[in-house]
Symmetry: C2
Subunit: 384 residues, 2 copies
């Protein structure tokens, strides 16, 4: 094993680029950054409010959300060699089409510069920062604008993929209007990073004050699960077999619900004959961050990937001697930085340590598999 | 191992008792049973519509939904020795308090008679049918009505628990108004079977016609996950440590999201100090049906139960040599009959075979553990 394969790579780490943070400061409705006086000495504090009716009046934000030096300092502190940085939600979702298009182009250029001027890891000649670009995925955008922006991103050498929410151009990601976009992304070899923002209807959370726990712990992964399931049901993965998609938060609830999903499809006359394969096959076509905070969860996701080939419509019983897929090879570590800051001063961030310990704790993975999840798999997927 | 431990027991099997089906036929809004003309020869067909705007105009229903002979014939066909039958959703949720109270009492008596007059399994002297009763959990019901109905159920010898939706008396199950009810159920030793009905806001499913797949495959387990998480966050399991709760559909997405939940709690000042234990501890306090349709899913749920003791606040590192819980001992087989009928004529129902094969396929379980999940664990939990 060479040094490169032992790098620690963070595929789930966010930034609000300065140009974007300025836009949020100029707004009077969510998403916005507001300043309020706080604490015993009434110090001004910036708070980020990304959803209407957000619990706890949003959350405190500071330089770690936009300053590149803070990102690099965080990486140094935790031994992270490379970060593949993505804009944080809600991206451009709230903007009119004209603004979204121009801002996407500017932010993609900003992120390319953020990455291209980052330090080099001497022995590998790799940069420390790479990025996911943005598409202006908003209602009334033209397909041409989307395709032009895919081309812009593909031409920026440090951008290796596209981060994407779940709304598409207003009707979700199972909208056929997006087929030319999937085709262009597939052709360009960019990785789609599917990430939640909206959760589900907040009435579900009840009247008690549980802070951000329910929307973050449940709403976020539910949204990713719904979006991915709708993509499967719409046949996107049948039509674009080489499209590479990375799911945030280890695919949310999709792995645990995937056999139920397959059974529900089999029992429903509307969809029973629609797809090429059993629903579980498609889970093996996807990539998963390892942001699940527990070893049992990670091991389970790798099992669900590993079994997927047996659910191909072309899987013959004669194939049963074929070795299953190595599930862990499609999983890769992330931190969700700068979210989940520790509540008290700690040497290292608990969320970072938890997600590393989760990998270490998977008894069924070899050391080589663990090294892959820590970094090698990301180097392969993003062709770094 | 004696014969009793080898019985096949179905803990997740539903009935619309004749009295309840008649009520549904009398209604003009959902939930209702309507008759429409169908097929080339315009034959009248009864259809069950349980939600407003239900996809595909509801589903066809027939005698298997209410006729006890059909239940017993289904059991015979599939080798099921004992079924613990529960009323199907939406129970009494849509009724005014006065009607709900009297109907709950009548339906509990009906179900007792349905079970008490069922055949005896000769060598064990057990009946073939037991049941979950109903509480009139609707807004404006008095606590006294609820407590009286708990006592009614506790006094009916063939009713072993209570099936319950997620709305409580209007504010969900984390409502302190329910504390006397939990206390009474705990004291009576009845098992709560937590079952979904509402899913999440159907706007999430988009505009495409995917039949019932999204609300059933995702919405149902999401609802159970939310309700159980809210119960954990409200401290119900801290206040009622002997309360026994069985989660439908293997706990939905809760096992896969439980480490994320624990991390979100740890990182949120509103809730970080509220609970006695790490969130993952409480998952080991719960029981899970094995209605997950896949072996990897079942094995994962048993892992999540097994690890739970290590998340007790009193778990010392000195305890690390203590054997973990046997996770499978808190899991038990179910069919969800009469839902998920096969689309074509088959010898046995696919959903039944899938859930049995899922148990057989868990390589990490011993034969004794598999026998437990197939029946022995239910005999213990329900003290049959």
């Amino acid at each position: 094993m060479n040094t490169a394969q032992k790098l620690l790579v963070d595929v789930h780490t966010h930034v609000y680029l300065p140009r974007y943070a300025q836009l949020l400061r100029s707004r009077t409705t969510a998403p916005r950054i507001l300043t309020r006086l706080s604490g015993p000495d009434n110090k001004p504090e910036e708070r980020l409010v990304i959803l209407d009716n957000e619990p706890s009046g949003g959350r405190p934000v500071g330089a770690q959300y936009w300053d590149r030096d803070e990102k690099l300092a965080f990486m140094d502190k935790h031994g992270i060699d490379i970060s593949i940085v993505s804009s944080a939600n809600p991206w451009l979702d709230f903007l009119p089409a004209s603004t979204a298009r121009s801002l996407a182009n500017e932010l993609n250029d900003d992120l390319e510069s953020y990455c291209s001027t980052s330090p080099i890891i001497a022995e590998t000649r790799r940069k420390r920062l790479y990025g996911f670009g943005l598409l202006p995925l908003v209602p009334e955008i033209t397909t041409e604008s989307l395709l032009d922006t895919v081309q812009q991103i593909a031409a920026l050498p440090h951008l290796k993929g596209i981060i994407m929410g779940t709304r598409g151009v207003g009707k979700g990601l199972d909208d056929e209007a997006l087929d030319p976009v999937w085709a262009a992304i597939e052709k360009a070899g960019l990785v789609v990073f599917l990430h939640p923002h909206y959760g589900v209807d907040s009435k579900q959370w009840g009247e008690k004050d549980n802070g951000h726990v329910l929307p973050l712990a449940l709403g976020f992964p539910f949204e990713t699960t719904i979006a991915t399931t709708r993509l499967i049901l719409s046949g996107v993965f049948d039509r674009f077999p080489a499209l590479r998609m990375l799911l945030a938060h280890s695919g949310g609830a999709l792995p645990q619900l995937s056999s139920r999903l397959a059974s529900c499809i089999d029992h429903d006359p509307v969809v029973a004959s629609r797809l090429k394969h059993d629903a579980r096959y498609y889970l093996g076509r996807l990539y998963y961050d390892a942001v699940a905070y527990g070893s049992a969860e990670l091991r389970f996701v790798s099992d669900v990937i590993a079994r997927s080939d047996s659910y191909s419509s072309t899987a013959a019983s004669a194939d049963s001697h074929v070795a299953p897929k190595l599930g862990s090879a499609q999983m890769m570590w992330g931190t969700d930085h700068p979210f989940f800051p520790p509540l008290s001063n700690t040497e290292k961030w608990k969320s970072v340590v938890e997600n590393l310990d989760a990998i270490t704790g998977v008894k069924e993975w070899t050391q080589e598999e663990k090294d892959g999840v820590r970094g090698g798999n990301a180097l392969s997927l993003f062709n770094l």
